[in-house]
């Protein structure tokens, strides 16, 4: 008994640096930001308690409404790429044949490049005045485009950049596809099922836990997007790429409205938690776990 107690203490001693780090650098600031969200605080002056003012302010803050709109648009775009497109790419890569390995490599490779760096590259390629794409368009007689300088094209183009990050979802799908027992396909094929029915009745149900995983990750990633907009557009043109987190950044580190920025952060957290919770809640009806329902 004494030995067990001693070993427990030793374990805690080894864990202590991490626990202290967690408390000081994560839980502390998280708790502080919750408190700050009810204050007017600019770092220099002492915080003043303002109740729910910061939360009420969001309703009338035009930039917040714009950031919400942009983030939801991007989330829809991102999920389409990250959850749907990557599934079909994974299914293509799952087919045996020559060049499959190379294909998998090509799809996965871009995800090894930090999105931050990819964004810089895209910024130059799609630069309206000096970029490669407009040069090519001009050479073939097509009109030049505004790309990231165009209020209409900037956001879809930022969304397209997410194509670079589907590699991780693709990899998870691929491993999921390869773990589906082949006898299931054999059985349904013997019954005369078409490719669509095989996909609908075998692939999708068997892959549903993986889809759930990618969906959750995709939602979290898309709501948190910051770096690519910061690098590519800084929220412009005309706030058309003003993402939620970019707005938080502006309020916190440009306007030094730490209280309001904290409130924005907490609402973001609540929204992501709510959406994620809703998906988990509904997953019992569409996610199939072998051997049990959840």
């Amino acid at each position: 008994m004494r030995w067990r107690r001693k070993s427990t203490l030793v374990a805690y001693a080894f864990l202590a640096p991490w626990i202290i780090g967690l408390a000081v650098f994560y839980l502390g600031p998280i708790g502080a930001s919750a408190v700050l969200s009810f204050t007017d605080y600019n770092i220099i002056s002492p915080a003043e308690f303002t109740g729910f003012d910061n939360y009420e302010k969001m309703i009338t803050d035009g930039e917040f409404v714009q950031a919400l709109r942009v983030t939801l648009y991007y989330t829809a775009f991102f999920l389409l790429m990250y959850v749907v497109l990557s599934l079909f790419v994974a299914m293509l890569a799952n087919r045996p044949g020559r060049g499959t390995g190379l294909f998998r490599l090509i799809v996965f490779l871009p995800s090894l490049i930090p999105l931050f760096a990819a964004a810089v590259l895209w910024g130059w390629i799609f630069n309206a005045d000096f970029g490669l794409i407009n040069y090519i368009l001009e050479e073939v007689g097509l009109p030049r485009q505004g790309f990231f300088q165009s209020p209409e094209q900037a956001l879809p183009l930022v969304g397209m950049l997410t194509f670079w990050s589907i590699g991780s979802a693709f990899l998870v799908y691929l491993s999921g596809l390869q773990s589906i027992p082949t006898h299931l396909y054999e059985a349904i094929t013997v019954d005369g099922a078409s490719a669509v029915r095989r996909f609908w009745h075998i692939t999708l149900p068997m892959l549903s836990p993986v889809i759930l995983f990618n969906l959750i990750i995709g939602i979290v990633l898309s709501f948190q997007v910051f770096d690519i907009a910061w690098v590519l557009t800084d929220g412009g043109p005309a706030n058309r790429t003003l993402f939620w987190v970019l707005l938080i950044f502006r309020r916190a580190f440009q306007d030094f409205e730490m209280g309001y920025a904290s409130a924005l952060s907490w609402v973001l957290f609540i929204v992501v938690a709510a959406v994620t919770g809703l998906i988990f809640r509904t997953s019992r009806w569409w996610v199939h776990y072998e051997g049990r329902t959840r």
């Binding site: 000081v24 650098f25 502390g28 600031p29 708790g31 502080a32 930001s33 408190v35 700050l36 009810f38 204050t39 605080y41 600019n42 770092i43 220099i44 002056s45 002492p46 915080a47 003043e48 308690f49 035009g62 930039e63 931050f116 810089v120 910024g123 630069n127 309206a128 005045d129 000096f130 505004g146 990231f148 300088q149 165009s150 209020p151 910051f226 770096d227 910061w230 690098v231 590519l232 557009t233 800084d234 929220g235 412009g236 043109p237 005309a238 706030n239 950044f249 502006r250 916190a252 580190f253 440009q254 306007d255 030094f256 409205e257 730490m258």
Partner: protein
């Protein structure tokens, strides 16, 4: 009325990478939040330790006359950015100070970027009660630190005490105005950078154009000459005639005698000359004579470097950086006059003292010494000094481009600074982006900008 000033924006687009900025910002936030978490748990003191007022002992000089230099001792910390030659020059200024005050140890904490990127870090240090003694500041920082927290030492009494030695009248008046908040001085002017025109002299020669410096000296560097130059450069094969950054929108307004805000901090960007001036630059983009300015920092500098554009509107700080990196002859001159007005935007750097300083007398000695004529003469190797005597000693009036730049200092103007951070800039950027994209007229865009400014400052 305050004479607070517009933001030094060159730092925003140069220097430290954004990733590093983000990291710094995160660190500052974590530090600040941690301090909050460690503080008193009552609602109105959940923030940082109070930093709103300087201790009584540091608010004013303790002596009626300046102490002898050998009576001042101890240590001070200096918050200043400066890499390469700039860093060497800062060290030379410290050495100069120590030649006069040998008993003061100056601990310089060199910043990796430009003072803008590290600003959240500075705020966190104020919050922690651990601010540096002396700071090299961008002018908007001086205003914000003072207006929102009185974090800086009011220097009026020190200036009055040492008036004879300081010779404040030697400073270019506009630069002194930039140190005032509510009529009180919270810093001494350190350097001032006017916006100027870089031009590719070889391209001008090839297009048969008169040298802009000569035109300026003859009083002919105006809207007509500027427009003619752009047209001729493009006609002669240059991809663009001129390029500029979107965040210089205020420079365009000032160039024609326009304004952004009035002294009551009400928007005026939609009135007077501003819409016309912004419309002029928007038309250049629409005509394909200037690239869209809404791009990442450095793009247009590269365009100038690669001879994609014949002129580039920016501050003079790139002059030296271009040396040896381009294979054409280039130079710098003043901004052209528009509507009979020669004006432009100024950036201002100040040296300020923290109200938390435990050694204010040494901090003040350092501040006044590095901004005296000799201190600024040393500084002139990398910056435009703020004393007329330093301009003469350093030979600014002997070099044509520097002479032209100094003319822009004398003609420079500002936008009254607000305590709302970048609210005015972000409001204007959101509205004017549509102008640059050709999706709004200058009147529509400036009216939108005015509305957004009102909303932001409400």
């Amino acid at each position: 009325m305050n004479n607070e000033r517009e933001i030094i924006r060159r730092a925003r687009r140069a220097g430290m990478s954004r990733r590093e900025f983000i990291k710094l910002g995160g660190t500052a936030a974590a530090a600040a939040a941690f301090l909050v978490a460690c503080g008193d748990d009552t609602a109105d003191t959940t923030a940082a330790p109070a930093t709103t007022a300087a201790p009584a002992t540091t608010a004013a000089p303790t002596t009626t006359a300046a102490p002898d230099s050998d009576e001042i001792g101890g240590e001070i910390t200096l918050w200043a950015w400066g890499a390469g030659l700039e860093g060497e020059v800062i060290q030379q200024r410290i050495d100069y100070f120590n030649s006069k005050y040998p008993n003061v140890q100056v601990n310089w904490e060199p910043l990796a970027a430009n003072g803008y990127e590290e600003y959240p870090q500075l705020l966190a240090r104020f919050a922690a009660g651990n601010a540096p003694d002396v700071m090299r500041m961008l002018n908007f920082q001086l205003t914000q630190l003072t207006a929102e927290g009185e974090a800086l030492l009011d220097l009026d009494d020190y200036i009055a005490r040492d008036a004879e030695e300081l010779n404040m009248g030697d400073f270019i008046p506009t630069t002194v105005e930039g140190t005032l908040v509510n009529g009180k001085a919270y810093g001494l002017p350190d350097n001032t950078e006017p916006y100027v025109i870089y031009y590719n002299r070889d391209a001008f020669d090839a297009a048969g154009l008169e040298d802009p410096q000569v035109l300026f000296q003859n009083g002919e560097w105006n809207e007509e000459a500027f427009t003619n130059s752009i047209d001729a450069l493009v006609d002669n094969g240059m991809r663009f005639g001129v390029s500029f950054e979107s965040w210089n929108y205020d420079t365009f307004c000032f160039m024609g005698g326009g304004t952004i805000l009035n002294e009551n901090l009400e928007p005026t960007i939609h009135q007077g000359a501003s819409p016309g001036m912004l419309g002029y630059f928007a038309q250049l983009i629409a005509d394909g004579k200037s690239p869209n300015p809404v791009v990442a920092g450095g793009t247009h500098l590269e365009a100038f470097r690669n001879q994609q554009t014949g002129m580039y509107l920016m501050g003079p700080w790139w002059y030296g950086a271009l040396t040896g990196t381009v294979d054409f002859d280039y130079d710098v001159t003043a901004l052209p006059s528009f509507n009979g007005v020669r004006a432009g935007k100024l950036e201002l750097g100040t040296i300020s003292i923290s109200s938390q300083s435990k050694n204010p007398e040494a901090a003040w000695a350092f501040t006044k010494t590095i901004t005296d004529t000799r201190g600024l003469e040393i500084w002139s190797q990398v910056a435009t000094p703020t004393r007329r005597s330093a301009l003469e000693v350093a030979g600014f009036n002997d070099v044509q481009w520097k002479k032209d730049a100094v003319a822009m200092v004398e003609a420079g103007t500002w936008t009254p600074f607000t305590t709302q951070g970048f609210a005015v800039d972000t409001a204007c950027a959101a509205a004017l982006d549509l102008l640059w994209a050709g999706e709004a007229t200058a009147e529509e865009a400036t009216q939108d900008a005015a509305n957004r400014i009102r909303e932001a400052l409400a």
